[in-house]
Symmetry: C2
Subunit: 127 residues, 2 copies
DNA sequence: TTACATGCAAAACTTTTGCGGCGGC
DNA sequence: GCCGCCGCAAAAGTTTTGCATGTAA
């Protein structure tokens, strides 16, 4: 059976408390602030486990996998070109119910929208 | 100066003739049907060159980089969950002009939409 | 106490770089 | 003929796996 360990609790907490989906290096360094000896292999193993349990899911932003917790409802992402951070946005600019069939016979199950631009923090600094 | 070589012509042609953006292994194997001794290092070097020249661009689908030619106008992508292929769709379900500012101060420069579902070929086979 | 999980290190895989030789111009 | 480009192989970077030890239950 799977056990509750400090490492798994800390990694899950880091993802839970993030402002958006995190990359593997981000998860590692944030978790190491609590558990300095945490190894990257444990991070990969835990991400795989949590993904299989549907506690988290991977999303691709700018070609890199980021991890976020599931059950946040329908949402999308905003990637800041200045600081590189990715934020979760609870808005949806698309109206595409599951089952929509496009011209040519493409049947849509789900959609992902990623917005690219400048985040509030970086906009302030620019002015 | 940069030269016109068989390798570069074949790689550019493969990307040009594709039904959608291709991964590195896809580009390599399609190009090798014309140039069997083509090496993967040449593919990476050519992709980098063509990207710098803005002849092609990278897009992330399902966490992997795919390459497509530029100048196709505003478009999005459809990834088939059955066969794994990615198609280019010349439709846009989003209305987000550059400069739109979202609640919280997120300033949008561009957006990417990826639809996931079943492509026409795979739908036919399912029935 | 007994497995499962961890940390470390090695392996597997992906992408980049160095180098001698080929080929576009 | 010159010099940029190629293929190959080695290096660098990323993700996975093996193994001895630690630790949750």
């Amino acid at each position: 059976m799977t056990r509750t360990t400090q490492q798994r609790e800390v990694i899950a907490m880091v993802i839970d408390e993030a402002e958006g989906p995190l990359t593997v290096p981000e998860i590692l360094s944030r978790a190491q602030q609590t558990l300095p000896r945490l190894g990257i292999a444990t991070v990969y193993r835990t991400l795989k486990l949590l993904t299989e349990q549907h506690q988290i899911q991977a999303v691709a932003v700018d070609g890199e996998s980021h991890y976020e917790r599931t059950g946040q409802g329908h949402h999308h992402h905003f990637a800041c070109g200045q600081c590189g951070r990715v934020f979760t946005l609870h808005i949806c600019p698309v109206d595409l119910p599951t089952g929509t069939v496009f011209a040519g016979g493409f049947e849509v199950e789900r959609h992902e929208v990623t917005l690219y631009g400048t985040c509030p923090d970086c906009r302030v600094q620019r002015n």
